[in-house]
């Protein structure tokens, strides 16, 4: 597993500069208009999508076929993509939190020392990580199935599936008369990492089932 994560980090290393540049440009555009919170979420999601770039590198070099002749199991290979996703998502959430906070202070949208603002930013950082994990995690089985040639479609579907599922749950609960108070929303945000964990466990199982059936001709 370590070798797989190391390989992805080395490969993506070349894209870090351009990703930092994009994050800074987005900060200049979106913090003044949409606020620091929206930017933090955007940063996490953007970084999590780098996992699809790693599939592109693998496909380009026919890595997956080679990896399977080394002492690496199919489970490890699938698991490594989720480990890499966690690294990218956490990196995106943290950098979003840092850049977003600085941007928020500079644009006077965040007040230094205001506990409520600080808490909001920290909770947004956590939510950013959770959303990034869920969207990125959804893209992984799709990328195993369709590999890099349908990456754009995978990206779209990986946004659409979680949105449909969570919006559906929200709609059902609303129909059942559940009202979403501030306390309930706070509790749901605190529980959201658990949701992401369960979601990605399901995505891992689906990814493994897809990959297990694959014939590695290339």
């Amino acid at each position: 597993m370590k070798s797989l994560v190391l390989k992805d980090l080395y490969n993506i290393g070349h894209n870090v500069k351009s990703m930092v540049f994009i994050l800074l440009v987005f900060a200049c555009i979106f913090i003044p208009s949409l606020g620091a919170e929206a930017y933090i979420i955007m940063s996490g999601v953007l970084c999590s999508m780098m996992v699809s770039t790693t599939f592109g590198f693998d496909s380009n070099s026919k890595w997956t076929k080679y990896a399977m002749v080394t002492p690496i199991t199919k489970k490890e290979l699938v698991g490594s993509k989720f480990a890499v996703l966690l690294i990218f998502s956490a990196g995106g959430a943290v950098s979003g939190l840092v850049i977003g906070s600085i941007g928020g202070i500079l644009t006077h949208k965040v007040i230094v020392g205001n506990i409520r603002d600080v808490l909001t930013l920290l909770l947004t950082g956590l939510l950013s990580l959770v959303i990034a994990e869920i969207i990125g995690g959804t893209s992984i089985p799709l990328l195993f199935q369709f590999v890099a040639e349908k990456a754009r479609m995978s990206t779209f579907v990986s946004f659409a599936i979680p949105f449909a599922v969570f919006f559906g749950i929200y709609a059902i609960l609303t129909l059942l008369g559940v009202s979403f108070s501030d306390n309930l929303i706070f509790m749901l945000i605190c529980l959201s990492p658990l949701t992401a964990l369960v979601w990605n466990l399901v995505m891992y199982r689906i990814s493994y089932a897809v990959f297990e059936k694959k014939e590695l001709l290339y």
């Binding site: 070798s3 190391l6 390989k7 080395y10 590198f57 693998d58 070099s61 002749v69 080394t70 199991t73």
Partner: protein, 287 residues
């Protein structure tokens, strides 16, 4: 001694192609050449043997054990080189060393560094700047640095110039000097196999036509060049394959000395691996 690799009844069906009950074994300390025309099934054999594709039937054992019984340990002892490097172009040999060191328990960094030095590969240069030959040298250096017992080469020398191929062949011969090391070398460049292989397995349309010691093929097989009347006089059981050209028949036989004694009116030439391959593929067999 137990064969290092034993393939028994390996079968895999695709639409329009069937790898049909392929069996052969590689004794320890030898080089087995797997030869056949493009699309004959050489890569399918290797892919199925390494569990990269699902087998329909048959078993492949490495030192008596199937890969699925203990894949991690067995794969430590198998080095594989495909027809191109499988690392992304922005990586350097040094980074590839780090990745491979994390993958293999048996990885020996000093062996790897020695190979890089011997093969004149700059450790900190991105591999996208390397020539095809340098990339293949690097693949081979990686494959040799975890001290495998078996090296599997799938068209690893194709696309290389003759000088580079010769360097590779020297490395292969060095590798099998230790009597416990073996190589399975798939190639359609028969001259390479003539230089280094101990055994030749010839695969055609998914079936094994023969698996024989190379010396037996080169020293005993021959081609009778004759006219129609002389062709009619050749004992049919002696004919392995034949081909009619404009005014001449080329007839492959397993015992050229016997043929020289028996058919004095005909010319009996030595047969190269290429000649044998061509006669089997493009010629006919006596029904």
């Amino acid at each position: 001694m137990e064969p290092i690799m034993q393939v028994e009844n390996l079968t895999k069906q695709y639409p329009g192609f069937k790898l049909d009950h392929v069996s052969f074994s590689i004794p320890q300390g030898t080089i087995m050449g797997l030869i056949g025309e493009n699309g004959a099934g050489k890569s399918t054999v290797i892919n199925a043997a390494l569990d990269l594709i699902h087998k329909d039937e048959g078993t492949v054992k490495f030192l008596g054990r199937e890969l699925s019984s203990d894949p991690k340990r067995i794969k430590e002892n198998i080095g594989v080189v495909f027809d191109e490097i499988n690392f992304y172009g922005t990586l350097t040999p040094a980074k590839i060393g780090n990745i491979s060191a994390a993958a293999y328990r048996q990885w020996d960094e000093s062996v790897y560094k020695n190979h890089l030095k011997k093969l004149q590969l700059p450790p900190h240069k991105e591999i996208k700047t390397f020539s095809k030959g340098m990339k293949m040298k690097l693949s081979l250096a990686v494959a040799l640095s975890h001290k495998p017992k078996l090296l599997i080469l799938d068209e690893a020398t194709s696309g290389l110039d003759p000088v580079m191929r010769d360097d590779f062949l020297d490395l292969f011969l060095d590798f099998v000097q230790d009597e416990s090391h073996s190589i399975l070398m798939s190639s359609h460049i028969s001259t390479d196999l003539e230089k280094v292989a101990d055994y030749i397995t010839f695969i055609h349309k998914g079936k094994i036509l023969f698996c024989k010691p190379k010396d037996e093929l080169l020293y005993h097989y021959g081609i009778i060049r004759c006219g129609t009347a002389q062709f009619g006089a050749i004992s049919k059981p002696e004919i392995l394959a034949y081909r009619k050209r404009d005014y001449q028949w080329d007839v492959l036989v397993a015992d050229k000395e016997k043929a020289r004694r028996k058919y004095k009116a005909s010319v009996v030439d030595n047969a190269s691996i290429d000649d044998i391959l061509l006669l089997y593929v493009k010629g006919d067999q006596v029904k």
